[in-house]
Symmetry: C2
Subunit: 222 residues, 2 copies
């Protein structure tokens, strides 16, 4: 069965990569920094984005594209915190976003008035790993309740991400989770992976997260 | 792009369903009860199976088929607790098990000496939903750290499961999770879904889980 799937996947992936290149050209032209948020379901992608849009959105204009299998709940949650566009993409069963969906979404976003674009992918540690959406980098969220072995079990995702955010650190006192072991496991897969740690619930680590985002955004053209 | 994918998926799914029917015939003939464990990564499927194999395995002979994308870590964890076979299936990147993998695994299992078969699927709330593996029922694990909205966001999985196990209930004091709301959301998607609640860490709820399993297994032929 796998052979029949691969025959179709290669041309589909090639077309995806052309769309991703076009997304990247448009973002570069407008000097927009884009991150592709990937993780398991329930790792806190939307909650971190809520805090980020609310607390950093006045300083850095932020647009968001949310991908979801069936609903637009995440987009609705985010829209409460901003007057800027939150573009919902319902994949209709597909387990990841593709670059054509992102490219189409860009038409609805005022890129010249945007500094930072978050693409919130479908909650899934397998499917989104190999899909380039035209982002600067993938950020994988990794929750302290998930177990230290996740980078070893889902290596493609941790290989293809440039940054990892350890979330829900407020729960560390209550779970048997060894942060050093989790990071070491991730570095076995991807030695370049850079970690941030935070809790969107308590706010711990958010200052570092916001500083990271400020540093990722180029200065506006004078 | 989706059209090209669907052309391939339909015959692949039809073949899968034939294999699933063959799995079901063989399990029925041997009076083996099989459950397909599905959930997000890190929801505690392996840990619950560890406790189940260790504490119930002497009373009810249990075999396990674990599916994983790249590793056989889960099978190794389980093998510590039993002398019986733990069959690891590495999907090599695929985001779910299929029935042919299960059918092939059955050849390695002494079905006549088995009462209960757990198929631990890949950690993924999207892909495994539509794949019949020949099981009696899907059991979806749902962790209290994931947010009450998961049934609404991943409805196919909750539609196609007959049972849901709410896991890591020991963390309820530390997370903003409303159990009644989570169950109500799940019942909006699937009114017949039956819930169990437990913590494999503290052991709370395990007696109910074991009783459920005892009730699901037919009496041995005299």
């Amino acid at each position: 069965m796998s052979v029949r799937t691969i025959e179709v996947r290669e041309p589909v992936m090639a077309r995806n990569n052309e769309y991703a290149a076009e997304v990247r050209r448009r973002l570069d032209a407008a000097r927009v920094t884009a991150f592709n948020f990937v993780s398991s379901p329930g790792s806190g992608k939307t909650m971190l984005l809520e805090r980020t849009v609310r607390d950093l959105g006045a300083e850095l204009p932020i647009a968001v594209i949310t991908g979801d299998v069936q609903t637009q709940n995440d987009a609705d949650r985010l829209a409460v915190h901003t007057n800027r566009l939150v573009q919902a993409v319902v994949t209709g069963g597909a387990c990841h976003l593709d670059a054509l969906q992102v490219l189409t979404s860009l038409d609805a976003i005022d890129l010249d008035a945007t500094r930072l674009l978050f693409i919130e992918n479908v909650g899934n540690l397998v499917c989104p790993a190999n899909w380039d959406l035209g982002e600067l980098a993938k950020i994988v969220l990794f929750t302290v309740t998930e177990g230290e072995d996740k980078p070893l079990k889902y290596p493609k995702m941790f290989q293809n991400a440039r940054y990892a955010v350890l979330t829900k650190t407020d729960l560390l006192p209550y779970v048997p989770f060894d942060v050093d072991l989790a990071i070491a496991n991730a570095h076995r897969i991807n030695p370049e992976l850079q970690f941030l740690q935070l809790s969107a619930t308590t706010g711990a680590g958010l200052t570092g997260w916001f500083d990271f985002l400020r540093g990722a955004v180029p200065a506006p053209v004078a």
